[in-house]
């Protein structure tokens, strides 16, 4: 089913993306096309075959031992941003 521009705007808000009015118009068309394609699965889904589950059941013995291991250092974790005192700085608004 095709989406309205209002619905696309809500999705964009959920996805934390911004679109200009022009982009929204193009995107609404694109999404209609993609969703029409996604809708083709409805042609088909019948009964569920038994088994073949994707969950990987982890036995207790499979779990790794709860031992202290080397871990990430804060100076490494923050190395891709201008860190302040080992923290990620986030300001309420840009300066």
């Amino acid at each position: 089913m095709a989406l309205t521009e209002t619905e696309i705007k809500r999705l964009a808000w959920l996805a934390k993306l911004k679109f200009t009015e022009e982009e929204l118009a193009v995107l609404t068309e694109d999404m209609a096309e993609i969703i029409e394609f996604a809708d083709t699965i409805n042609a088909s889904v019948g009964t569920l075959p038994a088994g073949n589950d994707f969950a990987r059941v982890c036995e207790f013995d499979d779990l790794r031992k709860d031992e202290v291991q080397e871990s990430n250092l804060s100076e490494e974790v923050t190395s891709n941003i201008e860190a302040e005192d080992g923290f990620f700085p986030v300001r309420r608004r840009s300066l």
Partner: protein
């Protein structure tokens, strides 16, 4: 003869050439190449690694991969070397750890030349969505390499690396391998650790090799596979494959599902029929099969992959790493602006579709249904494999398209993944290898699909074909030296 790992390794061990000399030859080749196969290079570090490898070669502690120069796709983490997924979002990002698959190769003394071009966040079939511009196909520079591991396939085909690590979510190793005329192996889901592979569709993604021969792909796979406590979906793999290639075609049951051949050109069909005839001559049994649910794998794939992508790409908030907008009104606004500025259009579209299929009211209609369909496809493959060992299919319905090709709309472009995505949906191993050329002289890829954790059988089948049919052709092609 082409420069394969076995040949180069032999020459290194005999001291005919040092790893430093070999590395320099590749660096020269990369520096004078216009293919745009690499987006970040690490030549100084490569020469240091080569010196280290030469020491190991001298000491006699070398393996087949020691001192062999290789490259890694730009979505696989390499400590201290830019790993950007070819996106503005991750421009300048340097991981502080290595992906397990790459770390295993480094432990054997592999030499890293640099990072290969790709579609942004691996989303595409041509590598044209790359922030750094598309790589060019070395077989015809007016055409695409395929994608998303296009840079790696081009690098291997043009001898700008002896082999490359790629990743395959819906065909991203196999399809570029077929477009560039090299070998590409997508291992069983769980056979190779995904730790350090920047996630796209976590239940589909798998790291694997692009190489100049089937044996090379097997050697690299043996080195990178196995359980890793950092990836809970990885499994023990108590088997090796590179020593099991010689079995020949006799006794192999090769299934041919007719749906895979619908819509491919007569020339491509001819190439694949030639391969089928070859296997028959070698004593394999050809089993005609049918898989009616094949076409349904595509919409299921796009729903599942986009749903997972929208969750996985949620981490790019401009706070901990990646692009941060310079101007914003609030933290929320900063996150949205950073993402909008950082992601390209195709990535944004897929995040939007993923958000849609997971949103309240649509989850059951799309995501849940796609998961049900996924189980049906797994069951369909199980059915096929009850009467054959290997499935033979084309890798792609097309050979390489021209660059900036507008003859197809987006959906037609998605449809071109029809031959590769079912394998990811079911978590199976598959290999693509060259199988002749079409009328324009472009390589055609043959895909061999196997049972879970049975890489050995598809590699054996691929090796049998390569030995029988390709050898004479390949001897005409040069190498880096």
């Amino acid at each position: 003869m082409r420069d394969t790992i076995s040949i180069l390794s032999e020459r290194l061990k005999k001291r005919e050439i040092s790893s430093v000399e070999l590395t320099k030859a590749y660096i020269d080749a990369i520096s004078s190449s216009d293919l745009n196969a690499y987006v970040h290079t690490s030549f100084d570090e490569a020469l240091r690694q080569a010196e280290e490898a030469d020491k190991r070669l001298k000491e006699g502690t070398a393996t087949l991969l020691t001192g062999i120069p290789m490259s890694v796709k730009d979505n696989i983490s390499t400590k201290g070397l830019e790993t950007t997924c070819c996106s503005k979002m991750l421009e300048g990002y340097k991981p502080f750890y290595d992906a397990t698959a790459y770390a295993k190769l480094r432990a054997e003394g592999a030499v890293l030349l640099g990072k290969n071009n790709m579609d942004e966040f691996a989303m595409g079939s041509t590598s044209e969505t790359s922030y750094y511009g598309a790589p060019l196909n070395p077989r015809d520079k007016t055409r695409v390499t395929g994608g998303s591991s296009g840079g790696g396939a081009a690098a291997v085909a043009a001898h700008l690396a002896a082999y490359a690590l790629g990743s395959d979510t819906g065909g991203s190793i196999r399809q570029p391998a077929s477009f560039c005329g090299v070998v590409g192996l997508k291992p069983t889901y769980g056979a190779v650790s995904r730790y350090g592979l920047i996630a796209y569709g976590s239940s589909l993604d798998q790291i694997g090799p692009l190489a100049n021969s089937v044996k090379d792909a097997a050697i690299v796979f043996d080195s990178i596979k196995g359980r890793d406590f950092r990836d809970q979906t990885s499994e023990e793999t108590p088997y090796t494959v590179s020593d099991k290639l010689e079995g020949g075609g006799k006794g192999l049951k090769i299934g041919v599902a007719k749906e895979y051949f619908e819509g491919i050109s007569p020339e491509m069909k001819g190439c694949l029929e030639g391969a089928i005839a070859f296997y028959e001559k070698e004593g394999a049994e050809i089993v005609p099969l049918s898989m009616p649910s094949l076409g349904l794998a595509l919409p299921a794939y796009y729903i599942i992959a986009c749903a997972e992508a929208s969750s996985n790409l949620g981490r790019y908030d401009g706070i901990r790493f990646g692009h941060r907008a310079a101007k914003y009104e609030s933290v929320d606004d900063m996150i949205a602006r950073s993402r909008t500025e950082g992601f390209g259009k195709e990535v944004q579209r897929r995040i939007m579709l993923g958000t849609y299929v997971l949103s309240s009211g649509y989850y059951d209609a799309y995501y849940k249904k796609a998961c049900t369909l996924r189980k049906q496809i797994v069951a369909a493959f199980d059915g096929l494999f009850s009467s054959c060992d290997v499935l033979l299919a084309p890798t792609s319905p097309n050979t390489a398209f021209p660059l900036n090709y507008t003859g197809q709309n987006r959906i037609e472009m998605y449809l071109s993944d029809i031959c590769t995505v079912p394998v990811n949906i079911a978590g199976l191993p598959a290999i693509s290898l060259p199988c002749g050329k079409d009328g324009k002289g472009l390589p055609v890829g043959m895909q061999l699909i196997g049972k879970k954790f049975d890489e050995a059988t598809i590699l054996r089948a691929a090796y049998t074909y390569e030995r029988g049919e390709r050898q004479e052709v390949e001897e005409l092609e040069g190498g880096v030296l």
